[in-house]
């Protein structure tokens, strides 16, 4: 079912690692030794992520919310070599494992945010770090969020302290087609490549409604029908481009077609390699976008913001499209005017894949609490939502939206050891993330300053509130 290519270019070419020296040194800089030939067939800014070694960890006697089944009271979880080894009750304590007493604490999968602008709209928020919208053309499928991403964004450690282990960093919503997203492990790093989740597909950011028509008012599109014409025109070009390349790749006769980064990304969408992520508030517009996908033969992975998703929850469930929503944002613009706090619960009731996302550097620090708001709003309205469902809204469901749910998102043996230990019930306002394990590495510990990452910007300027 995984149809995307590990390299983001045209081909299923594996990242070039041939000839790398047999040492523990970081992976060689890809491209330097790349085979001669077409740029499109070489590795494209591949992940250089390497798991940080850490001892085996047994967290014992905690309430474990697995996101794959019922809560386990008095449960234990064993992490080793970056993987979850076992989850359950009555696990024996391996001699080599660090034992964490989880009495009174809760354990969940690492929190995953489908919608973040960390690193592309970095703090301190000056023009110098405003790298999220290439607002120079309504269709900029050629830009990649990772090429804006600043690993020293001081918002990153704050999000880590909120239990977040993986984000989708997206371009902004000024454009109809804003560019490629990046799926990133949230860890301190010198480059974005070190954070890239190995094997994760790219996402394509698209946007409906008010933002593009406002930004491009004078040159167009300035209407919603103009927005639709803009998407259609771009995908018509992409169809032709894909056909030209597919033909050449098959027979390799004559010169290859010209490479066009913009159309290369859109062709990736048409091939199913790139997952479509659409900023879309209004119910009627989401239905238009579903029709757009039918016209060009691509599937939409998730609508984002989706303030009116509750009005079409049945359709989203039927179509298998996730809805990434806020808990309770409302009323700040016309397309957000019909927001209700029961949005997530109504989606869940209809069987749609429900996600709580942030789109916000403050909100990302408290996605567990946002899920709690949405859970209780639903329960108070008499909707049949459960804690087991609500924990999925911020873990395994977003993992699915990013195409990494086989690797992470739930606490099951064999999955990546992305784990949060909370001081108490993560759905209480009084609870905090105490420990965050990212791929088995203790990236954050509220009680140990040695495990409280700071960015360069923090030094001498902004000591983070993290840990205090």
């Amino acid at each position: 079912m995984r149809r995307w290519s590990p390299a983001p270019g045209l081909l299923l070419a594996a990242a070039c690692t041939a000839g790398s020296p047999p040492t523990a040194a970081p992976a060689p800089v890809a491209g330097r030794d790349a085979t001669p030939g077409l740029s499109a067939e070489r590795p494209q800014y591949p992940s250089t992520y390497r798991r940080r070694p850490y001892s085996a960890v047994l967290i014992r006697n905690a309430t474990i919310m697995t996101a794959a089944g019922p809560e386990i009271a008095g449960g234990s979880i064993l992490l080793r070599d970056g993987k979850i080894v076992a989850v359950g009750t009555g696990l024996s304590e391996p001699a080599d494992a660090v034992v964490v007493d989880g009495t009174g604490k809760f354990v969940t999968p690492g929190v995953i945010d489908t919608h973040s602008h960390l690193g592309v709209y970095s703090a301190p928020g000056t023009f110098a770090e405003s790298d999220g919208n290439e607002a120079t053309n309504p269709v900029t499928a050629q830009v990649w969020a990772e090429h804006s991403f600043w690993p020293q964004d001081p918002q990153i450690p704050l999000a880590i302290a909120g239990g977040v282990t993986v984000i989708q960093a997206l371009p902004g919503s000024a454009n109809l087609i804003g560019g490629r997203s990046a799926i990133l492990r949230l860890i301190p790093a010198r480059s974005v490549q070190e954070m890239k989740f190995p094997g994760a597909p790219y996402g394509l950011k698209m946007a409906c409604g008010e933002n593009p028509k406002r930004v491009y008012q004078s040159r167009g599109p300035s209407t919603r029908m103009g927005n639709m014409a803009g998407y259609r025109g771009a995908f018509i070009e992409a169809e032709r481009y894909r056909a030209r390349w597919d033909k050449w790749l098959k027979d390799r006769k004559g010169d290859p077609p010209d490479r066009d980064l913009r159309l290369e990304t859109l062709a990736g969408v048409l091939r199913g390699d790139i997952l479509v992520q659409i900023h879309c508030y209004r119910a009627d517009e989401m239905l238009q976008m579903i029709d757009l996908g039918r016209e060009f033969g691509f599937r939409i992975r998730s609508f984002h913001h989706a303030v009116e998703a509750y009005k079409i929850a049945d359709v989203l469930a039927r179509e298998g499209i996730a809805a990434s929503v806020w808990a309770d944002w409302c009323c700040f613009k016309m397309e957000a005017f019909d927001g209700v706090p029961e949005n997530a619960a109504l989606l869940q009731q209809a069987g749609a894949r429900t996600v709580i996302h942030s789109d916000d550097a403050v909100g990302i620090q408290r996605l567990n609490q946002e899920a709690a708001k949405a859970l209780y709003a639903g329960q108070q309205a008499g909707l049949p939502v459960t804690r087991e469902q609500a924990i999925r809204w911020i873990t395994v469901n977003p993992a699915w939206v990013l195409g990494i749910d086989r690797e992470t998102g739930s606490l099951e043996p064999g999955k990546s050891a992305d784990v949060v230990v909370w001081s108490g019930d993560p759905f209480s306002i009084y609870s905090k993330a105490e420990q965050v394990y990212n791929d088995g590495w203790l990236v954050f510990d509220r009680n140990d300053p040695k495990h409280q990452p700071r960015t360069d910007f923090n030094i001498g300027i902004a000591d983070p509130g993290v840990g205090n």
Binding site: A123, P124, G125, T126, P154, Q155, L158, E210, Y310, K311, I312, A313, D314, W326, A327, D328, W329, C330, C331, F332, K333, M334, F337, D338, G339, V340, P341, E342, L346, A350, D360, A361, V362, Q365, R366, Q369, A372, K373, L375, Y376, Q380, A381, F427, S428, I429, Y430, S431, K432, F457, N458, I461, A462, D463, P464, G465, N468
Partner: protein, 433 residues
């Protein structure tokens, strides 16, 4: 502005007070709403009552009559014929007081047609937002659902943004919402007002000093002003007149300041002109908590705002706790896109990071009432105070609770908003239009 110079009352030395202020302050409890019966007495019984002014009362009674709290306690005699509300297992608190909103002044943030809280210009001291309030905005019932019953609603923009007013979140007319006007003068000392100072904070302070000095001069020499025997002044007569209330200490300055040096500038100004000061924003206030406590300056703070900017990079989640520990009057506010109804969770977040639960509740009830000079009427459950009361299903500062009963001036407010109506419409799909 030239237009302002025609204000006859201002020239005559009479403090410019909009007519509605007088109406609001002198009016008896409002008679709007069919649910108000002249002699109706409401007895909320059996709940755990948090009066805020004193310790919690298990199995307490709150007695309400004629829009006022009549009695609070464990052994309150309930008059015959009272409407009894069983609050067994519930938590009873004063209505929450949100000290940083634009409720009534905006409905859809991005739609100018619905926005009345921002007057263009640099010195807008005479700009009182009261008559911009639209009591019919959908945000007011939504905010009420979170137990918010009273709010400071105020202007934004410019260096002196204008006058904020206190409203109850109930009433069909401006006169019935507004409870105190003016309640505070909003002045922006943060990064966002630098333009008013020619691009420098030093310029901002120079302009403010000139304005305050001219306001003092104007107050002293109104006859000369009328005879055109004064040098040109830094602001219009109406603005200088309005600043009189600030210079006399009748209303506080609500100074937006986040960076420590800006907070210190506000303190300096307050000393020079004997201003009653409230710091709002206050991201780095924790660094000078002792000084603020000593000066008796309250701090209005959003406890989860921690993104470092050059306007106040040293944020920390436990700053409400640190300020309180030093003896500062802390007022908690939210600024989430979820809206003012989430105020109670600002208090919850402060508890999450070390503030005591009692202090956090105080910070969204009695503390703002005291700082804004309306504690005789608002902020706690005490006999004689306005009967703004909320009955909660559980701990109001945590997510699992909800407001089950809301009284504003003794009126039982229906728990209905545009959002609940949308929910009902789409609860089952497809909807039946």
């Amino acid at each position: 502005m030239a237009r302002d110079r025609g204000g006859a009352e201002g020239w005559a030395g009479v403090r410019v007070v909009p007519a509605i202020v007088v109406a609001a302050l002198l009016a008896p409890m409002p008679r709007t709403g069919p649910t108000v019966l002249a002699a109706q007495t409401i007895a909320i019984t059996g709940g755990t009552v948090f009066p805020v002014s004193g310790p919690k009362i298990e199995n307490g009674t709150v007695l309400i009559r004629d829009g006022r709290v009549l009695a609070v306690g464990r052994s309150v005699t309930i008059p015959e014929g009272s409407t009894r509300v069983d609050a067994t297992g519930k938590w009873v608190t004063p209505g929450l007081f949100h000290a940083s909103t634009q409720l009534g002044l905006t409905q859809v943030g991005s739609v100018d047609a619905t926005n009345e809280g921002n007057r263009s210009g640099t010195i807008n001291a005479a700009f009182n937002v009261a008559e911009g309030i639209n009591p019919a905005v959908v945000n007011i019932p939504i905010a009420r659902m979170g137990g918010v019953t009273t709010a400071l609603t105020g202007p934004s923009g410019g260096l002196i943004a204008g006058q904020a007013v206190i409203i109850d979140l109930y009433g069909e007319r401006i006169e019935s919402l507004v409870r105190k006007s003016p309640a505070a003068m909003v002045i922006d000392l943060s990064e966002s007002s630098k333009g008013a100072g020619g691009g420098s904070r030093a310029g901002v302070l120079q302009l403010l000093r000139q304005t305050f000095a001219d306001a003092q001069e104007y107050q002293r020499r109104k006859p000369d002003f009328r005879k055109n025997q004064m040098q040109p002044l830094a602001a219009s007569a109406a603005d200088l007149e309005a600043l009189g209330a600030v210079l006399r200490g009748e209303i506080p300055v609500y100074a937006i300041a986040n960076r420590r040096s800006d907070i210190e500038s506000a303190l300096r100004l307050a000393r020079e002109y004997r201003l009653k000061l409230i710091i709002t924003g206050g991201i780095e206030a924790w660094e000078i908590a002792d000084e603020l406590a000593k000066a008796g300056v309250p701090v209005v703070i959003n406890p989860i705002l921690d993104i470092p900017t050059f306007d106040g990079p040293a944020s920390r989640f436990d700053s409400p706790a640190l300020l309180r520990k030093a003896g500062v009057q802390v007022i908690l506010v939210e600024a989430e896109s979820g809206g003012p109804r989430n105020l109670r969770w600002a208090a919850g977040h402060a508890v999450e990071y070390g503030m005591s639960w009692d202090d956090a509740l105080r910070a969204v009830t009695l503390a703002p009432a005291e700082a804004l000079g309306v504690a005789e009427q608002y902020g706690s459950l005490d006999a004689g105070k306005v009967a703004n009361v909320v009955v909660w299903s559980g701990d109001p500062l945590d997510f699992s609770s909800r407001a089950e009963k809301i009284y504003i001036r003794g009126v039982d407010i229906p728990l209905v908003s545009r959002q609940t109506e949308l929910l009902d419409r789409y609860r089952k799909l497809p909807p039946s239009y």
